[in-house]
């Protein structure tokens, strides 16, 4: 049964990756690649001071987006599972429906909210709290993080809701009967049991946000550009496919490293073995 799916995965994931792995060690021509094999592209990708700056931006934006999304998503998913009652299906529908809105429309919505003449600045000035627009609200890392949290939060909620779903209410009620207050229930029961789904959600958001190259162009300004933009520029503008492929593989290696570290941390704390039954 799983053979066709495995074959599709092999075709759609492995073949492109292998192609780009090969490109990354070939010599760059003008919008072309040729022999001989070389590691020069990796040297250029790793040695570029611009890439260091952009990688730092990507890391900061990725971690910040993932942490904030998790902090917001966890209570919402908990509420959906244990407290929403008859609202559960409707709110889940709203969460899914929010993903139907165009990515670019949502980015532009934040432009109108965060801009110099946007909703927030006008409100602050109208209330007499500021005399001129708060310039840091837009075209900054913060603006990129805000927009990415908005875009990616529904995914986090769904992943965490799936994690909460098999959790029996009886366990939390038992803990309460035994004297555990809300904080203790979260610390001793919920968070250990939700560690694996939370790490999954974190990595999902981290990879998507750190690798994004559209949002930084619209909201990042000169301080919020990220490494994905550089990969795009290498392929599309400079026609240097090997450098773009090498930079992409450096990013992929970074992501795999994060994935490995997260799994290692789960195993070290034995949280990967926590089960309901």
């Amino acid at each position: 049964m799983s053979l066709p799916a495995a074959a599709a995965l092999l075709l759609l994931l492995t073949v492109p990756l292998a192609t780009f792995a090969l490109y990354s060690v070939l010599t760059a021509g003008l919008f072309s690649v040729s022999g001989p094999l070389t590691l020069e592209n990796y040297r250029a990708a790793l040695g570029s001071s611009l890439n260091h700056t952009l990688a730092t931006n990507s890391l900061v934006v990725g971690v910040a987006t993932a942490l904030i999304s998790l902090a917001l998503g966890l209570p919402i998913a908990y509420w959906l599972r244990f407290a929403a009652g008859r609202w559960q299906q409707f709110v889940l529908f709203l969460v899914v429906a929010s993903m139907f809105a165009s990515y670019l429309v949502r980015i532009y919505a934040w432009r109108t909210i965060l801009g110099d003449n946007g909703v927030i600045n006008r409100a602050l000035e109208g209330l007499g709290l500021t005399s001129q627009p708060l310039g840091f609200l837009i075209f900054s890392r913060a603006a990129v993080v805000i927009a990415l949290v908005h875009i990616l939060l529904p995914y986090v909620i769904l992943v965490l809701f799936a994690g909460f779903r098999p959790m029996p209410v009886a366990i939390l009620e038992s803990a309460q009967d035994l004297g555990a207050n809300s904080l203790t229930r979260w610390r001793r029961i919920i968070l250990p049991l939700m560690a694996a789904p939370a790490v999954t959600a974190f990595l999902f958001v981290f990879v998507l946000s750190a690798g994004d190259y559209v949002t930084p162009q619209f909201l990042g300004g000169t301080r919020g550009s990220m490494l994905g933009v550089q990969v795009q520029a290498s392929f599309i503008e400079a026609g240097n496919w090997p450098l773009g492929a090498a930079t992409g593989f450096v990013m992929l290696t970074g992501f795999l490293l994060c994935y490995g570290l997260a799994l290692f941390a789960l195993r070290l704390t034995r949280l990967d073995r926590v089960r309901w039954s």
Binding site: F31, L50, Y108, D116, N117, S225, A233
Partner: protein
């Protein structure tokens, strides 16, 4: 302000009449064409039979071939002229399968990705890309005998100027579709008209300057303002250009990813002037309620461009493509196309048919002089031991955009 004189072309209409009459029309047409996304011509039926119609009449004059079938097209949105060409397509049973690009470099990337098989039948290219496309060998010759309307071109665009459209050996590879310039744009409601680009570096304008992520336009304009030809730029020259652009970017809060985005920033009041403005953004901003944006050539000039239609290698149904190109040179259709885009037409008999605003916006009578103030440049060379290469320019632009 621009000081070109077009009076002999527009005798009988006053400037006031032109402005009153046409701003709304231009706004409606230009704005709509650029604003709507994805009304994609997924009309495509298949097939495309090749016509073997003669291309020269019995008296020796060129004749457009018969058209039918499908054309696979890639270019900017609106360059497929969905409204203007609708009747022609219907009459000839032609469908246009359009791919809209977000970046000019998608053209060569996609053609090369096809690895020698069919990709597109019709493309457009900016004149700056001609040396690259020649080097990559991705253009096929255009048969002038199949395009009788070439006679309608303004002589400047019919010429072999810098071999942008016609090679030195006389082979035609491109047919001009529209032209224009990038220069300085400002909001007359917010500031006095700047005299030079350096006025934009005034500390009082910090954070209020816009700039599009148009590498070619910005790089060419940055060099031009400093009196440097980007195609013959030494490392020392390049250092000056980078310093100048670094200062200009420091005046912005970030580079706009598209010209549409720049227009949005103008409309929102986030920027009051732009380095590398483009006349159609005036109309886009007006469409969003900001009618005081004006793109113009300051004392230090600007940079011109000309987008041309071309046939890539391994194109199919080339007779229909020739017929399409020929149709776009019909005066009425050419005027409709440029009205919808807000660009200038290379078709001489189309000029009086343009909206009055568009007629007044370009120096039709003195193109040679205009292109001295706003030259048509190629890209920096791709290989050179003497001059800065295009790869160097791309790398520097990424660095500058990231605040480096």
């Amino acid at each position: 302000m621009d000081d070109w004189d077009n009076t002999d072309l527009f005798s009988g209409s006053t400037q006031a009449e032109r402005e009153d009459l046409t701003r709304r029309q231009l706004l409606e047409r230009g704005g709509l064409a650029l604003a709507f996304l994805g009304a994609g011509p997924f009309l495509a039926a298949c097939g495309g039979k090749k016509s073997a119609a003669p291309t020269v009449t019995s008296n020796g004059t060129p004749k457009a071939p018969n058209a039918s079938g499908q054309i696979a097209f890639i270019s900017w949105q609106g360059y497929d002229a969905p409204k203007a060409m609708a009747s022609w397509k219907k009459a000839h049973h032609v469908t246009l399968k359009a791919t809209y690009m977000g970046n000019h470099d998608e053209i060569q990337t996609k053609i090369l990705a096809a690895r020698g098989s069919h990709s597109f039948d019709l493309i457009t290219y900016a004149q700056a890309y001609k040396p690259l496309y020649k080097e990559l060998n991705i253009l096929t010759p255009i048969d002038e005998n199949k395009i009788p309307n070439l006679k309608n071109l303004i002589p400047f665009f019919a010429s072999d100027y810098k071999n942008f459209w016609v090679d030195a050996d006389g082979t035609r590879t491109g047919v001009p579709l529209n032209w224009g310039y990038v220069a300085l744009a400002y909001d007359s409601d917010a500031i006095k008209q700047p005299q030079t680009y350096r006025d934009l570096l005034d500390p009082s304008l910090k954070g209020k300057i816009g700039m599009p992520d148009d590498l070619i336009g910005v790089a060419q304009l940055g060099a031009h303002v400093l009196g440097i030809d980007i195609t013959k730029m030494s490392k020392a020259d390049f250092g000056e250009v980078k310093d100048f652009l670094r200062k200009m970017i420091a005046q912005t809060k970030g580079v706009s990813p598209t010209y549409g985005d720049l227009a949005s920033r103008f409309a929102a009041g986030d920027v009051v002037a732009a380095f590398c403005g483009w006349p159609p953004i005036d109309q886009l901003a007006a469409g969003a309620g900001k009618k005081t944006i004006k793109t113009y050539l300051p004392k230090d000039g600007g940079v011109g461009y000309c987008d041309s239609m071309a046939i890539p290698t391994h194109a199919r149904n080339t007779d229909t493509v020739h017929a399409w190109i020929n149709a776009t040179l019909e005066p009425k259709l050419a005027a409709q196309i440029d009205d919808s885009l807000g660009t200038a037409t290379p078709v001489k008999p189309a000029i009086p048919l343009l909206t009055k605003d568009l007629q007044a916006a370009y120096p039709w009578n003195s193109l040679d002089g205009f292109f001295k103030k706003a030259p048509l440049y190629a890209l920096a060379p791709f290989k050179s031991d003497k001059y800065v290469t295009w790869s160097d320019v791309v790398a520097a632009w990424q660095q500058l955009k990231a605040g480096g």
